[in-house]
Symmetry: C2
Subunit: 519 residues, 2 copies
Amino acid sequence: MKPLQPTPPGNLFMAVTALMLPSTAFAQAGHTHTERPNIILFMVDDMGWQDTSLPFWNQRTFYNDRYETPNMERLAAQGMMFTQAYACPISSPSRCSLMTGSNAARHRVTNWTLEKNKSTDLSDDSLALPDWNYNGISRVDGCRNTYKAVSFVNLLQASGYHTIHCGKAHWGAKDTPGENPTHWGFEVNIAGHAGGGPATYLSERCFGNTTDPKKQHKMAIPGLEKYWNTGVFLTEALTREAISALDKAKRYNQPFYLYMSHYAVHIPIDRDPRYFAKYLRKGLSEKEAAYASLVEGMDKSLGDILDWLDQNGESRRTIVIFMSDNGGYATGTQWRDEPLFTQNFPLRSGKGSMYEGGIREPMIVRWPSVVRPKSVCGQYIMIEDFFPTLLEMAGIKHYKVPQKVDGKSFVPLLKGQEKPSRRPLVWNYPNVWGNTGPGISLNCALREGPWKLIYNYKTRRKELYDIPNDIGEAHDLAASRPSLVAKLSKKLGRYLRKMGAQRPSDKRSGRPCPWPDEP
Amino acid sequence: MKPLQPTPPGNLFMAVTALMLPSTAFAQAGHTHTERPNIILFMVDDMGWQDTSLPFWNQRTFYNDRYETPNMERLAAQGMMFTQAYACPISSPSRCSLMTGSNAARHRVTNWTLEKNKSTDLSDDSLALPDWNYNGISRVDGCRNTYKAVSFVNLLQASGYHTIHCGKAHWGAKDTPGENPTHWGFEVNIAGHAGGGPATYLSERCFGNTTDPKKQHKMAIPGLEKYWNTGVFLTEALTREAISALDKAKRYNQPFYLYMSHYAVHIPIDRDPRYFAKYLRKGLSEKEAAYASLVEGMDKSLGDILDWLDQNGESRRTIVIFMSDNGGYATGTQWRDEPLFTQNFPLRSGKGSMYEGGIREPMIVRWPSVVRPKSVCGQYIMIEDFFPTLLEMAGIKHYKVPQKVDGKSFVPLLKGQEKPSRRPLVWNYPNVWGNTGPGISLNCALREGPWKLIYNYKTRRKELYDIPNDIGEAHDLAASRPSLVAKLSKKLGRYLRKMGAQRPSDKRSGRPCPWPDEP
């Protein structure tokens, strides 16, 4: 069958006024609900690879015994676990890659976004930081420092999916078009806005809202007024609203896409009262018990949604994907009180870091009659791979978007057609995050096969790890494998330049920091 | 310049699964805000042609002196009045034609919609009514009795407009996809849902909302919780929310489309406390003073929006269109207490009727540097004409939608290229409305040039009027002009059949009622 001819860009302009052609091919032909699967992407915020009772490593760990996530176990028993699923070290870059399919080096939303025309970078003493896209992504022009793209949700919606956003969005700075989930194709928006975390999970504090708009917390959660002062924890409120939206979707009799994007387990680590006492009894400190309660509250939400699917006869035609957006928080004692940078053990460091603790995510996919239950995939995948994958799941193959899609569909992996991949993955973080620690800020990295190269723009230090044999990144092989380092540096440098990546520059000389393959 | 090739329908299907191609041409190229105008469609509900101090007739009337609409006068002084703007006799048919560009005879949403799979028709003693599209319009399959279409708002949004819905929607029955304005391309939805009228305008009654969902009024207004018990009248609350959305649109720096769709002046005719006393003092009865207060409250909203445009430097690049969706309410004494069917004088009858009182609307267009100020257009236009007109205003010329667009752009009229038109307009109402009166229910009509033919499916009576010379439809010329009646009947019958119109049938014999040109 002949694919649709892509339109030459020149034809997109009209004669009279220079404007864009709108969508010419909205859903036009009949199809019934059963022809296409529902898709639920259950996205957790700041959840580490070990924040679960489900082991993603080759052995059970201390943390697998601490946390209780029975519904993740249930999902894994019915689907496929990915043991090497990657995201960016920070939320906005991951979420912008998810929506656009572009690598963060390309979309340049390399740090977290919040306010219009304001970078969230901390400053560096000797380096000037690049003018990155701190306004996030946008479908339209009109705001500077944005990356222009069409999301896979726009395409799902145009093709006939009912699309539901619930929870954290974090795609565009406040007062830019991308802040609004409906801009990205969501027909329903529950509690999503520019903010990348919750002011508080507590209904007693109205989720951070105040009567005086001037004193409003920037991270106050919008749209959940009916739960204020009810004692319903944020995670639970979002779950109830999502299920109510699913009830509606069922009545619409459309295939649906639910982006269940929890604010949990992002700071502030409030105590989920349903589970907090249990973890105290298990001997955890108050801070760690609070964190464990956030994790289990999130898992309960997953269970409620799986139950809804079962009770509504939708399980068999619904794909459920579990994912997190970056590593677990490990850089401060305000919220965690075990030794710093240990919270993702056996992985090194945590959120913000190029080490595995910052980028490796717990990921599970359940897809009845496609994915083999209880299966495990050891191939690595990257957050931008979700874009082409979800479109393929929805049967959408021919589409045209303004951005370059770097991601590759992992549908073949789901079908068990697993082949060892030498495909390179690329990260770029030429920014300075708020917290410091191992592998955090001003660096870039490449993963290819077993090897991972990390390059620091400031120190110009290179590190090389054999990830399968050294998951904790304890043994830097850079000094002993100089030719491999040179080869990987060259590759990383080439990728970064090809994608239009940004890099810091020296404040005094104005000269850009060398790429990894430059002297 | 070569237009975009339409895709042959066969190519819309993929090889593997029978599904639809999604939009392939979302906004892809750069354009700045200034290249395309903002558009505001200010739509009033159930407002009659004479419910204004602005005369749309060739003389000032009693009602022009009663009502006070200074902002309509202000708009007309800066724009063009249309003295023969038509809609359908009932809300849903008009609004579905507006969104789809299809004539009501074609989209078959010929009566008002509310609940899924339930017709709102009253029954007739001898006629069986057609299985019309009582579920409204929808972009997707999955619900029966819907008309499948893409709205012009979908196209505006895909092309880069920021799209705001405020007020009444009324495009799809509850629990069908079309109930949600976001389904139709609106990025913001303020207070729109399946309901076609307000439970109440009063914040003291929480706009009809109750704490017990089972006792919830079907017409309770959603989403205005913050105005409950504040004393802010519904019309004012919607205006404030619309202006807040405009503030946001300004920050987005996108061209915007605002559908300011007031619930006013639909029943219940609550008293707008800001204006009620004034009309009592003018000597009006309580009911008529309440109605006049609703009208002036609506006009104040128009003024606030015009003020916003002025204060924000957006007037010159914003097109403002004023319109109503059907004639003024004239069929009951519960809400009006002057003689029945006189409320739209000099027009005959009112809402629900095929006489001019049911279908002729007050319409004004302000388009700086295109429309001549203080101009008047006497050409007739029809509600489905808005679809191609608004797309042309936005510079969108080449689009592909699943439905047949019956409407014709009136941009040439706005540009003063006025030519006497012999184009026929068609109405079809094979339904039975809740209220009775002259020209109401079970009929169809044709307007061509000066002539208007009305045919009643039940009585088979035909009426013929010379509208320019008999605006009150007092002199039926059918008996004296039999050959003209035959000619127009033939034309009407042909149009109805061509559009796939529906008609009632005899309950006993099962035979359909004859078309107007059948014996």
